[in-house]
Subunit: 200 residues, 2 copies
Amino acid sequence: MSTAFISEETLLSYGATYKKVNKGDLIFMEGGAACFYYQLVEGRVRWVNINEDGREFIQVMIEPGESFGEFPLFDDQPYAASAIADDDCVLLRLHKTNFHQMLRSNYDIHFNFTRLLVSRLRFKFLTLRELAYNNPEQRISTMLNYYKRLRGIEQKPCKLHLTRQQLADMTGLRVETVIRTIRTLHERGRLTIQRGKVFY
Amino acid sequence: MSTAFISEETLLSYGATYKKVNKGDLIFMEGGAACFYYQLVEGRVRWVNINEDGREFIQVMIEPGESFGEFPLFDDQPYAASAIADDDCVLLRLHKTNFHQMLRSNYDIHFNFTRLLVSRLRFKFLTLRELAYNNPEQRISTMLNYYKRLRGIEQKPCKLHLTRQQLADMTGLRVETVIRTIRTLHERGRLTIQRGKVFY
DNA sequence: GGGTAAATATGATTGGGGTCATATTTCACC
DNA sequence: GGTGAAATATGACCCCAATCATATTTACCC
C-alpha cells in the first residue's frame, strides 16, 4: 500500500501531469463534476464530507501512491466527497479519457485498480461495523490499527500523524471524548503519550 | 440495478451453476476462504457481520441480479462478512478461476464489475457519514431512500420489505428506537404505517 | 526568548438513545 | 376461525457521550 499503485512512468506515458497544491487547498469538491484521475505523489490528502455545520467526516486519509476521487470516472455522478490537502502535496492528474484508455489497454492495471476498490470496501465494511456497535475505545483502536498498518507492519510504536480532532472526524466522536479515551488507553498501557502526541 | 449485472447466459457459458438455498441458510461465513463468485437470481440475501453477542450488522441487502462476496476473489483474504438467505433463493455460482478468465477476456464485464464496486463504495461513503453524525431520524430516512431507489424510481409509496429489526441492524440503532422514530415519521406524514407495515 | 494560535486537557451538566419489562398486534398455518 | 410465534408498540429508568466552559500545554515564528 505504501508503494505507488500505478507507477509514475506509466501515468506519465498516458499523459498525466504533475500538480502542486498547498496545505489546506481544496483539490475538488463534493457534488462537483469530475474529469481527472488523481494519484498522490507526495504529502497527504483528506477525503472528507463537510456537513451544514461545517463539521468534517474524514472518509479516508490518502497516503502517497494512492488514488482518490475516482468514483465519477465510472458512473458519471458527482464527487462523493471533497479532497483537501492536509499538507503541501504533489499529485498526478490524468484526464478521464486517457485513464479509460489506460484501463482498456492494460488488464493488469485495471485489475490492480479493482483490487484497490476492494481494499477500500473492506475498510468501509470494517469501519461501518465499528461505528454501528462499538464504544469509543474500540472505535478509536480500530482506526489506530488501520492507519498503523498502512505504514507497513513495523511493530514499533511510532508517532501518530493524526490529531485528536481528526480521529474524532473519522469515528464520529467529539474531540473531548477522543482525548479522554486516548488518556484511558494510555493509562492502560495500550499506547504512549509524549508531549501530547500519540505513539502507537 | 434491478437488471442482472452479468447476464445469466454469460455466466453459464463460463461454467456457472445454479444453486438453491433455503431461507435462513448460511451461504458463506465471515472469515472463511472463498473460491466462488456469487450472483443472486431470485430471493434476497443479507450480507452481515455478526458480533460476539450475536447482534447482526447488515452491510448490504442483496437483490436479484447483484453479486456478493467478491472481495476475496481479488485479494485472497477471507470473507469480510457472512451471507445469509433472507428468503428462499436461487443463485449462480462461478468458480474463481473461471471468473478471472471471464474478466480477462471481456473488458466490458470487467468494467461493469468495477462500476458495481464503485456504486457500493458510494453507498458506504453515504452510510458512514450518516452513522457518524446524524440522529436516528436522518439515519433511517437515508436507509429508506436507498432501498426505495433500488426498486426503481417509482414515486408511489410501496410496502417496505424490511423489518424494524433489520433497519436497526443497518443503522446501528436499537429496535425500540427504530420503532419510535418510524412512529414520529408517520405522525409527520413522511411515511405511512398500515397494519404495522411501513409504506414509503 | 517572548508572543500567539492550535492542540490538548479537564470539570460540570445534560440529554438522547439504550435497556428492560411488558403489552398488543399481525400473520401464517392447521 | 382459533392458535402461537414473530413483529410491533410503549412506558420507566439509566448511562454514557455530547455539550459548554475554561485552563494548560505545545509548537511555531519573528
